[in-house]
């Protein structure tokens, strides 16, 4: 692996007295789709949350495309701002903003967090929605979208600021086989654009079919 875009080293994370991660070391190369697998409570989602800067970890380090995060202390604001440009995250339940249309969901961050002109953001937003086959749903609100459509909008939203790394938490959990197949193909398309994907999943078949590598976790460590 020559071009490591995401590295976690001896990552420890506890909630109270309960250890969640107990020394996770993991390298992910650019263009890889890594499937994190393991039983419930093994730490899959927690790793994604730590990498996304949502969860403070106790010890160890994380480096995302050159942005280092150190354990045991809050992430400095400047580092956090850099991290947000490097990592996008798609949540298990999509977490779209209910008061905004699909297109507005996609345009919110480019306009308000990254200073993109609204018209340019809308054009880019429509392109992204079109790329994921949901352009016709641009004006629909989250409650009006199907599960598969909402997931595609959530992916478009995460990619709107063009992060090199995309994290996805249980993306197949609520999809039927046909939609799951479509999702896999969509992710393959992202790999071709040299994006790096880390996906937590229980779906062995999906992982075997689409991941470039499967990393298995048990009791907070890579096995």
């Amino acid at each position: 692996m020559t071009d490591v875009v995401l590295r976690t080293e001896r990552l420890h994370l506890s909630r109270g007295t309960r250890p969640i991660l107990t020394g996770v070391t993991l390298d992910v190369a650019r263009g890889e789709l890594v499937a994190l697998m393991g039983p419930s409570g093994s730490g899959k989602t927690t790793i994604l949350r730590a990498v996304a800067g949502l969860e403070r970890f106790d010890t160890g380090t994380i480096v995302v495309d050159g942005v280092p995060l150190a354990g045991g202390a809050p992430i400095p604001a400047a580092t956090l701002r850099q991290l947000r440009r490097k990592v996008g995250m798609v949540f298990q339940f999509h977490c779209l903003f209910e008061h905004l249309s699909a297109l507005s969901n996609v345009c919110l961050a480019p306009v308000h967090a990254h200073g993109v002109a609204p018209a340019a953001a809308a054009t880019r937003g429509r392109e992204l929605l079109a790329a994921f086959g949901v352009e016709h749903r641009a004006d629909a609100y989250p409650r009006q979208l199907s599960g598969g459509e909402a997931q595609r909008v959530a992916i478009a939203r995460a990619l709107a600021v063009d992060p090199p790394v995309l994290l996805m938490d249980e993306p197949t959990a609520s999809l039927d086989p046909e939609r799951r197949e479509e999702l896999g193909e969509l992710l393959q398309g992202l790999l071709r654009q040299q994006r790096t994907l880390v996906v937590s999943t229980h779906d062995e078949e999906f992982a075997r079919q689409f991941a470039t590598r499967i990393v298995r976790l048990k009791n907070g460590v890579v096995v």
């Binding site: 949502l54 996008g88 995250m89 949540f91 008061h99 308000h112 967090a113 409650r143 009006q144 709107a160």
Partner: protein, 508 residues
């Protein structure tokens, strides 16, 4: 103090059924307990009328207490006191709750037209009180152009001041009690007080700094007040009063309470000679609403009711605007603030929610007067806003906390700052959740704004109460008042519903 605004509906119904129920109750009461004379009074008025005995607080003292005793003895009954707020005594007696009302009640054309009133047993003079420093320049109402003159709302003195507004250009300020007009006079909130000499002299014994001018503005009388259906009982009481006028019993009572003067023997002489005594001298009562047709009375009072409605709606809108702004800040502080901030704001919310709004208004206007002398309207606006802000903040806090954490985390991973997460994601959704309870509170505030009449702000309910007192009935004033409140609240509710529909997230 309870306010009429909460009782209007009941009073309208009571007014509609007043006669028949009053008769029935009186008849039943007479049959069941002929030995009791129930008399209504307000101990808040204090001595020399009715007050709790400082030595034995379970006992009442005052000249009205002694007159009640005199009447009861003459009727071979036992007096039983009924504690009724001063401005509700008419309605209470009309309902048949009490046989007679005695609490320095003024003789007026309205009362003579709608109730049975006893012979006047005391004659008083309406007198002007001014600060000592103004004694030389403010001698009569004509000297008070552009000045604020205080009195008790719904009294003869108030009627005199309303006319003087037109004739002399002064500004009448209505109070709910007869103590604060004098304290506000001394500290400069008002420039004069017009009330009867009994009240003025009583306050002068407790408060220094004002002078009672010698000129008599008008002459009036205290009477006992009975239901119109109780005329036979009233006649029996008049005989007792005549005897007490003749044999010096009334003189002894009034001397004991230090209110006897030369006006009383002259009054008694006229009454015993059978001369008619007009209710008021010095105020033209030929245009009293009590003697007008209901339609003319309504036409006369409608402009002032509409003007009071403007005060109500302006006050409510401004207070609600401020309450929303403060509520948002408190809620934001409670959700995002540090431990100390959260504790302080929680303390504020609990303090406001745990104490009556009337107490808060009193503290703001009267309690802080030594340090900050707020104008009445500003104090009312602030009082309502500070009170409602606490309730609003709880609505907003609940709404903010109802937004799923996942959405906030999604917003953070997109690079939005905490402020942007709040303003772009959390608050807009929370506002939609809060809209319905907010509208509810706005409508509630329209009605709660009636409480500020205790701070001398003349809003719709207070104006209605004055109308009703002068008319001697709540039916028309109450109906008009209810109609005006509905005319304000219904469009508000409709606008809020439109807003809710517009902002509602579309259904699947």
């Amino acid at each position: 103090m309870r306010r009429f605004s909460h009782l209007i509906a009941i009073l309208i119904i009571a007014g509609l059924t007043l006669d028949s129920r009053g008769v029935e109750r009186s008849a039943v009461a007479a049959a069941q307990a002929p030995q009791i004379l129930r008399w209504a009074g307000d101990p808040e008025g204090g001595a020399p009328f009715v007050e709790a005995d400082p030595a034995r607080p379970d006992q009442l003292v005052g000249f009205d207490v002694e007159i009640a005793g005199l009447l009861a003895t003459g009727l071979n009954r036992t007096p039983e006191f009924l504690n009724i707020r001063f401005d509700s005594i008419d309605q209470s007696v009309g309902r048949g709750d009490a046989d007679i009302g005695l609490s320095g009640i003024e003789d007026t054309p309205a009362r003579r037209a709608t109730m049975a009133v006893t012979l006047p047993y005391y004659e008083f003079r309406e007198v002007l009180s001014v600060r000592d420093a103004d004694a030389a320049r403010f001698r009569s109402l004509a000297d008070l152009r552009g000045k604020r003159v205080a009195t008790l709302g719904g009294t003869i003195a108030y009627e005199i001041l309303v006319r003087a507004e037109r004739d002399f250009g002064l500004r009448a300020v209505s109070y709910d009690d007869d103590v604060h007009p004098y304290s506000d006079l001394v500290i400069g909130r008002v420039d004069a007080v017009l009330l009867d000499n009994v009240l003025a002299e009583r306050r002068q014994r407790a408060v220094t700094g004002f002078t009672i001018q010698p000129q008599t503005i008008a002459v009036g009388h205290y009477i006992g007040l009975l239901s119109a259906s109780n005329a036979p009982l009233r006649d029996a009481m008049d005989n007792i009063l005549r005897t007490a006028m003749r044999d010096g019993t009334l003189e002894r009572i009034f001397r004991k309470w230090r209110v006897w003067n030369d006006d009383q023997p002259k009054l008694y002489q006229r009454l015993l000679a059978g001369e008619p005594v007009p209710p008021i001298t010095g105020l033209d009562t030929s245009v009293s609403v009590a003697t007008m047709s209901k339609w003319d009375a309504t036409k006369r009072y409608l402009p002032s009711l509409l003007q009071a409605s403007v005060v109500t709606i302006v006050l409510s809108c401004l207070s609600m605007g401020l309450a929303i702004a403060l509520g948002v800040m408190i809620a934001t502080g409670r959700v995002y603030g540090g431990r100390l901030t959260r504790l302080a704001l929680l303390g504020y919310v609990e303090l406001i929610r745990g104490t009556p709004i009337l107490l808060q208004l009193f503290v703001l206007y009267y309690g802080l007067a030594a340090a900050v002398r707020l104008p009445a309207f500003i104090a009312a606006l602030l009082g309502l806003a500070l009170n409602y802000a606490a309730y609003e903040s709880e609505i907003y806090r609940g709404a903010l906390e109802a937004i799923p954490v996942g959405q906030l985390e999604a917003a953070r991973t997109l690079g939005l700052s905490e402020r942007q997460v709040l303003t772009l994601v959390r608050a807009p959704q929370a506002f939609r959740l809060a809209l319905a309870p907010m509208t509810n509170d706005f409508v509630a505030m329209l009605k709660d704004s009636s409480l500020v009449s205790v701070l001398t702000v003349l809003e719709l309910t207070k104006q209605t109460q004055i109308f009703a007192t002068n008319l001697g009935s709540w039916v028309i004033p109450g109906t008009l008042c209810a109609g005006l409140y509905l005319a304000m609240s219904l469009p508000l509710a409709a606008a809020a519903r439109r807003l809710e529909n517009r902002w509602r997230t579309p259904a699947p």
